[in-house]
Subunit: 147 residues, 2 copies
Amino acid sequence: MDKFMEAAIEEANKGLKEGGIPIGSVLVHNNQIIGRGHNKRIQKGSVVLHGEMDALESAGRQPATVYRECVLYTTLSPCPMCTGAILLYQIPKVIVGENITFKGQEDLLREKGVEVDVLQESECVDLMKSFIKASPGLWNEDIGEID
Amino acid sequence: MDKFMEAAIEEANKGLKEGGIPIGSVLVHNNQIIGRGHNKRIQKGSVVLHGEMDALESAGRQPATVYRECVLYTTLSPCPMCTGAILLYQIPKVIVGENITFKGQEDLLREKGVEVDVLQESECVDLMKSFIKASPGLWNEDIGEID
């Protein structure tokens, strides 16, 4: 498997072990991970730290030129908020673990010129399927849906 | 002036006094402020805590039904990331202080059924004009533009 998607899955598994929502992400620049993170809704009571946002936050303040050379890896298709963050920072490429359990704003990303590759990794699908089955209320909360 | 926009401007001024980017926001539910915040890029080294995001974060974990009855006040037109957060949580109404110094994704919000009112408050315009003039580099960083 792609080593960066492996790192994103590691993050998702970290989240799961913490009792959190198992979605992970890494931000890659020049073939190096510069930010990594996972969903922190449960752990920090955060409504903004989805996996992708946590990875961006952990990378710290980067020049605009750096974001424009980055690839963002995420285990799950990005929701509207994370999509917006990708567009704000003009990240040109997003690698998605899977979009079977949730399909985010991939169309908007592509429309704005972002390259989006979906790997459909069974490990990512299994993580989300198990989580959603065990904790449907938490999952609905995370994507703004009424439980 | 609208008392909730006044509260958002108070937040923007708090940010300015802290040496930060002067954009503030409040989240209002049933005519009560349930979250308030301001841009924390400088103060926390945060790349995700724009004013609107900080207000959402300060409101904590709310049920989906609450967000859908909220009004979000922000001193400045919402960038793509904050627009995405508004869409994720299906906040139906956004009151914008001004969109002269920066125009965000108001069209996308309206297209998705969000009511967007722009007040063009001179106090909001003045805050941003002074800040952008004094710190163009920080401002460009905040909106992902190359300095």
